[in-house]
């Protein structure tokens, strides 16, 4: 399975994080939110009009903007 952008998943789909290509401040924030390579991530829903994604990692639900989700690479499971 090739790696795809987190933003390309549809609601309900799960995947494994393979790489995070964001700038440093965002990267650090994502780490603290539990985004680490190898972790399981699930897209819960997407807002209308290309709005943010609601994703779930472990027990935390998080909002990320679409353009930022494009910089997170995942592999579907």
């Amino acid at each position: 399975m090739p790696a795809v952008a987190l933003s390309s998943l549809t609601p309900g789909e799960g995947a494994t994080i393979v790489a995070i290509h964001t700038d440093e401040p965002l990267h650090q924030r994502l780490l603290a939110m539990g985004f680490r390579t190898g972790k399981h991530i699930e897209v819960i829903r997407k807002a209308r009009f290309s709005g943010p994604l609601q994703v779930r990692i472990g027990t935390t639900d998080i909002l990320v903007r679409k353009n930022e989700a494009e910089q997170i690479k995942v592999r579907k499971v």
Partner: protein
């Protein structure tokens, strides 16, 4: 005095714990090494008074955000005798990383795993004893909101305070950045002490979100909730505000006037119409601030504010704002002052400033009173609704224009990654404390400024003593005369210019000031206005009133919340310029079209 600092990620319940520890006695204070104010409170612990400090929430000890810098500097300059580290027990898996970073600072620490009630509900089991052993730090389960585990936590803190702080190891940065170390440590600690069910089972949140964040229904529900909130604040706030106003008038008439009647007229005027009115102005804001934050506590604590961000983000991001800004903007239609204070939930300073620049354009209830009066005087009943509606639209348009124009000066420096917490409901105690803290803050910060402003406007409109109040011979009249060349092309008459100077204090007094200026009231005033002005002039005056500075209290709040006089001046100047531009464009345009 020994110091206890509360540390932890945002939304872990630090403030809730802080409030439980210090009650209503907390105060804001300044600290060496940092520019922001922190809440502190003094409490008796064991037999000693200790000072408790609520630090801003941080995700990462080495993060780039403002809050993270503040905490770093604070810890560096003011090493606490004890750090109470608050973690969200339901998210222990990821929050442990912060604890491991903090542990390397060699601080004297006690760890509190908060929200134990939720962890239990979600089926997460934590063996605090085992975890404590694995980490070599005292660890306790706690529910700061409901109080279980609190006595034990306090006892542990008391005990830990007896030992002196080992101090902080320097040059830790390199070591700290070893992510791998932290990751393997996390795995080791969690392995034996924590069990998380494979799937989270918060059915209530899942089901509520299915409705609240529904692709089609989400936005209508959001606007419905906002409308209800707004109505509720209006419904309860208006009578309360009127009540406080009446109380102050009664005190004025029954006690102060007779008491001061022997003083010279000018001094009486200064004391009663200047200083006393200033204090009364501050007081009328008290009920509205309390109400606003009672409701705000609900919106925030239930987690709905983050949901609003989800729903509105696509639109607001284009304006450099986020969904929370939008909620504050909407609440500003009730009253700008608490809405400005409410922006404190936004942790990015630039985002907050941009939001504060936009909020004063919200057509608040005080301005509505002016518009209703003028519309009734100059427009046919069937066009009145249309006039008011157009003013609401223009209020939004000014806000959007301002955001679009200024967003490049306020680029957000904080990554937008918001947590979506499960739905919770605040306890009454939490709501009341919130209202109390905000009122205290407002009264403490804004009173001097507002009283000074009211006195200044009183002087302008009543000096020199030989001039009739608010007439063309007063200083205000003279200033109005100077300004006339500027206002003539907007159709605003010299009398109305003086009313605008009054309106700088509060829009509530604009109609009253017109009564003083014309020496008429009620129907007579309505008729006089209808005779003096045509609808184009009246609309131009309303446009100016809508867009220029809302009131002195809003300025005082802008200043105390931004802690930046330059920013406050920019806000005032921009709104004045925009008001002038819009009025002149409208007036000249309408005249050119033959109206």
């Amino acid at each position: 005095m020994k110091r206890i600092a509360l540390l932890g990620m945002p939304n872990t319940g630090k403030s809730t714990l802080f409030n439980r520890m210090t009650g209503a006695s907390a105060r804001v204070g300044n600290w060496p090494g940092i520019t922001v104010e922190l809440l502190t409170g003094k409490i008796l612990l064991g037999s000693d008074m200790v000072e408790v400090i609520d630090l801003p929430g941080i995700y990462d000890l080495h993060g780039f955000s403002e809050d993270e810098q503040v905490v770093r500097h604070f810890l560096h300059e003011n090493v606490p005798d004890l750090a109470l580290v608050v973690l969200n027990a339901t998210q222990i898996e990821r929050q442990l990383s912060l604890l491991l970073q903090l542990r390397q600072l060699n601080l004297n620490m006690v760890v509190l795993l908060n929200m134990a009630d939720e962890a239990r509900k979600f089926g997460i089991t934590i063996d605090a004893g085992k975890m404590s052993e694995a980490l070599g730090i005292p660890i306790f389960l706690l529910s700061a909101k409901y109080g279980s585990g609190y006595p034990e936590a306090l006892q542990a803190a008391t005990k830990a305070l007896r030992y002196t702080t080992p101090g902080m190891a320097e040059q830790l940065r390199d070591q700290l950045e070893q992510d791998e170390y932290i990751e393997s440590e996390m795995a080791r600690v969690l392995q034996h002490s924590v069990q998380v069910p494979a799937r989270m089972s918060d059915n209530l949140t899942t089901q509520l979100d299915r409705l609240m964040l529904h692709p089609w229904l989400g936005l209508p529900i959001f606007f419905g909730i906002m409308f209800l909130l707004f109505q509720a604040i209006f419904f309860f706030g208006q009578p309360l505000q009127t009540g406080v106003g009446m109380l102050f008038t009664w005190l004025h008439d029954a006690a102060l006037v007779p008491l001061l009647s022997s003083l010279p007229d000018a001094l009486q005027g200064l004391l009663l119409d200047g200083i006393y009115n200033g204090v009364a102005t501050v007081a009328t804001f008290v009920p509205i601030i309390v109400l606003f934050f009672l409701f705000m506590a609900i919106v925030e604590d239930t987690g709905y504010l983050s949901r609003a961000a989800f729903l509105m983000d696509a639109l607001m991001a284009k304006m450099g704002l986020d969904g929370r800004s939008f909620v504050m903007l909407l609440m500003g239609f009730g009253c700008n002052v608490p809405a400005l204070m409410g922006t404190r939930v936004m942790r990015s300073r630039t985002l907050r400033l941009l939001t504060m620049l936009v909020i004063p354009f919200s057509l608040c209830s005080a301005r509505l009173q002016v518009f209703v009066f003028i519309t009734a005087a100059l427009f046919a009943p069937k066009s009145a609704a249309l006039v008011l509606f157009s003013l609401y639209l223009l209020s939004f348009a000014s806000a959007i224009l301002t955001a679009l124009l200024f967003k490049r000066f306020f680029p957000s420096n904080e990554p937008f990654v918001l947590e979506l917490p499960p739905y919770r409901f605040p306890t009454l105690r939490q709501m009341v404390l919130r209202g109390w803290h905000e009122v205290h803050h407002f009264v403490h910060r804004a009173t001097k400024f507002i009283v000074a402003g009211v006195v200044l406007v009183w002087l302008l409109t009543h000096m020199p003593p030989s001039a009739a109040p608010a007439s063309a011979d007063t200083w205000a009249g003279i200033v109005g005369g100077w300004l006339h060349p500027l206002f003539a092309p907007t159709g605003i008459t010299p009398e109305l210019t003086i009313a605008l100077i009054f309106g700088f204090v509060a829009k509530e007094i604009v109609i009253g000031s017109l009564a003083v200026i014309y020496g008429l009231s009620g129907h007579a005033l309505t008729n006089e206005l209808a005779g003096q002005l045509d609808w184009v002039q009246a609309y131009s005056f309303m446009l100016f009133t809508l867009i220029y500075t809302p009131c002195l209290s809003a300025i005082a709040t802008l200043r105390s919340e931004s802690k930046n006089t330059g920013f406050t001046l920019v806000s005032i100047l921009w709104s004045l310029s925009l008001a002038w531009l819009v009025s002149i464009t409208f007036y000249q345009g309408a005249r050119a079209l033959g109206y």
